[in-house]
Symmetry: C2
Subunit: 189 residues, 2 copies
């Protein structure tokens, strides 16, 4: 079984590589829009399937599995995307600090014959952090490529995340254990 | 504030270094025995204080904080230590796979004038893994320096740990967020 990962995220590429399957990478140009009124908890799954549908299944080899994924941060029912500015990053982090939120990753697996997808949710509990700490993080780590403006594996995640419920790697960007289990199932069918 | 970490663990040294405080390292020679009948949940805290007591407080500088820590893996009330052989590592992993267990890290902070300690507990849920997967992990990663015979940050943690409840870095070996918060409190007193 060979994997074809459609993701630009270096974290996701690194996590998937740990599984030990041969991997190739592609980039898909998809307009990431969601239907009006879609529940925040559905967005990541929808976008992972949207990305998968942008790749023609007939271009997949017999032993190839296309992997697409999307991660969103949800706070009180609202999706936090990637911040476009320093101020927007700080605003997101002010919202998250001292509160709990959810991280959803949707993953879609597609072979020539089949498609399966799942959503993994992790609850994240952030400690209160002061303005100086938030500014230090944003200016040092520049989290403009990260949904919710933070990386759990970076300084702010280490000092600020007191507890999670669910899969840690899901928060990094890929629910590796669930994906491994789904790939094993797929290889047996 | 300067930290003096008494730990040989490269993971713990790396995690503590992320906090940004100046650090020195020492090695303390302590016989890690616990009183008969001590509850498994108390062991890590007890050992962290035992380690701290092996260093004379008067040798600490005014601005220095001695940090000692101990991590234990507990399955159904029994402490799993570091495995002494390949077979013992496999036996531990057979016990953990498909089950839940707890990881306790005890941390003791000591200045010339004060001592404070705490225990952090994380629940870990392992997926079922087959004998070939366990053998692959033990032979490739040789987890003989790890309590419970696994590292959550290694292959087996990525593919096998479906969910945790609590602090991720606590399972790696140091509850960084709690420690950061306790050090902030200490610096204000």
């Amino acid at each position: 079984m060979r994997l074809l990962l459609a993701s630009q995220s270096p974290r996701r590429r690194q996590l998937l590589a740990e599984l030990g399957y041969p991997i190739e990478y592609i980039s898909l140009d998809v307009e990431e829009t969601t239907p009006a009124g879609m529940a925040a908890s559905e967005v990541a799954g929808y976008l992972s399937r949207l990305k998968a549908s942008a790749y023609p299944a007939e271009q997949l080899a017999e032993d190839q599995v296309l992997v697409t994924a999307d991660t969103v941060v949800v706070h009180q029912g609202h999706v936090l995307g990637k911040p476009h500015s320093r101020e927007e990053a700080l605003q997101m982090l002010r919202t998250l600090a001292g509160n709990s939120h959810e991280v959803y990753t949707g993953v879609c697996l597609r072979t020539r014959a089949r498609e399966t997808s799942f959503i993994e949710c992790t609850h994240v509990h952030f400690a209160p952090l002061c303005e100086e700490e938030l500014a230090y993080y944003v200016d040092t780590y520049r989290p403009f490529d990260k949904a919710g403006a933070y990386g759990i594996q970076e300084w702010i995640g280490m000092v600020g995340i007191r507890a999670i419920e669910g899969c840690y790697y899901n928060v990094v960007g890929l629910p590796v254990a669930r994906l491994y289990s789904e790939l094993k199932k797929l290889s047996k069918t």
